[in-house]
Amino acid sequence: MSMAKPIATDRSATGIPTGRLAMWLLLSSEIVIFGGLLVCYLLYRFHNGEWGHEASHTNVYAGGLNTFVLLTSSLFIVLAHHAAEKKHDTDAAFKWMWATVACGLIFLGVKAYEYTHEIMHGFTITANVFWSFYYTATAIHAGHVIAGMTAIAICSFDVKQGKHLNRVELTGIYWHFVDLVWIFLFPLLYIAK
């Protein structure tokens, strides 16, 4: 029985590995998804200056903490990539990948605290169009965080056995994008009051 190599590990005609090209294509579509949502939010925010009063109820300290957590998680996953593909240190890569997952869990915990606090004070998704945008954008982002954590966790077990080391970079690129989205969500929802 022949063991065919997965296509995604072969170099493509475009000069970069197929898997990496596929990840960039995915991210360009995600730019349109999040970009579209944020563009609509921006326009509505310009038109409704009173939303500044609603936005004053978001917790900038929690948002700042989450920004710190995600930026640090981006460092962890790039260290995992560096360990896996350049130093071939699969144990270090495994640990850095799970450090990234831990940061994701912290992010979700802080987000859950924020949601609880805001909902208990009456700022629900139907309270105001600002809060509709807030919950929609942050929840879709949190969904992507969960997806990224899941992918990194699953790939980590292969990496520990020295298999599919290129997937550390691929999941890492996805995770950096999740961080990038939050880098823009934070000033739009928390700082612009």
Binding site: T14, I31, L43, Y44, L75, L180, I183, F186, I191
Partner: protein, 136 residues
């Protein structure tokens, strides 16, 4: 990659992270000054700088094939098209043959009065609650 990333130890990435932390602090402190221009630069300008640094150094776009930048920029072009395409609908309250009819609270009465329209002309009742779109 056309660049030997093995030359970069962990310290290289930690320096980038430290720079991002400084930028994060700037983006948190700047808006507290309450000056609009400073807020725009420190909150949104710093966000753009942080994003560019993450893309260039963590995602290795600085050594990636240049057409990947083009792929991402083309997505941004679509976003800009969306922004300018729908801006007139969201930002304007009336056009040649239409009037935006929100009808959800009385503050809109002041907005329509400013445009020289009475509530009855645009299908709002006296407290602005009911809305019937009218053509002109």
């Amino acid at each position: 990659m056309g660049h030997d990333a093995a030359a970069h130890g962990n310290g290289y990435y930690i320096k980038i992270w430290a720079t991002l932390m400084v930028l994060l602090v700037i983006s948190l402190v700047g808006p507290t000054l309450g000056i609009l221009v400073v807020t725009l630069i420190t909150a949104f300008g710093v966000a753009v700088v942080k994003a560019t640094m993450v893309m260039a150094y963590f995602m290795h776009l600085n050594v990636e094939k240049k057409y990947i930048w083009g792929l991402l920029l083309s997505a941004l072009v679509f976003i800009l098209g969306l922004f300018f395409g729908i801006a007139p609908d969201i930002m304007a309250n009336r056009g040649h043959n239409w009037v935006k009819c929100n009808g959800y609270d009385a503050k809109n009465l002041a907005r329509f009065a400013h445009m020289g329209l009475a509530a009855e002309e645009i299908g709002l009742n006296k407290d602005g609650k009911i809305c019937t779109p009218q053509r002109f």
